[in-house]
Amino acid sequence: MDCKGQTCPVPLVEARKAIRKAKPGDVIVITGTHPASKKEIPMAAEAAQVEVLEVKQDGEVWTIKLRR
């Protein structure tokens, strides 16, 4: 999922939508630039008992990998 350029609360909401649609074992990759979402998407994943595989920052862009 590409949330680059999107601001609060869109990346968080899109992450939640993806988590809801994913089947167990599915990997969700989210990229974005909104700084607070980088911190908050892993919190939302934890609340949904979804595993956070990776949080990476490359310049302005972050990438978060989750596994349902």
């Binding site: 350029g5 999107q6 601001t7 609060c8 609360p9 869109v10 968080l12 909401v13 992450a15 939640r16 939508k17 809801r20 919190m43 939302a44 609340a47 949904a48």
Partner: protein, 139 residues
Amino acid sequence: MANRTTIIVHSGDMDKLYSALIVGNGSLAMGMECNLFFTFWGLQRLKKGGLEKGNLSKMNMLGLGKAMVKKMMRKQNVASLEKLMQDYKELGGRIIACEMTMEIMRIKKEDLRTDLIDEYGAVGTYVQQAKDSSITLFI
């Protein structure tokens, strides 16, 4: 205490509606349930075509301030209230419409966007939800 947010949306101001829908969406995204109880000026925003019609709560300046803020928001790529409402419903958020406001302001069900509304209720409905909500706000 249930993992739930319940918000009274009393204001119909654009900026306050943003607050309500952002906190609502945030709650759902963090895995909570959410109720938005639309009453008084807030309920006007559930009328057909009414969602984006609110003024700014401060510095509206006959709509000039609102136009400036909207321009700034577009520049920053802020989602519209309509998108936030669609996201809110897609994530399972509930909307309650205040029946007392409907009576006082003579608003009929057919004036409202009934597709968005899950329940029609009064103060008892709010209290019933709020007493088991870990977050409750009045906006």
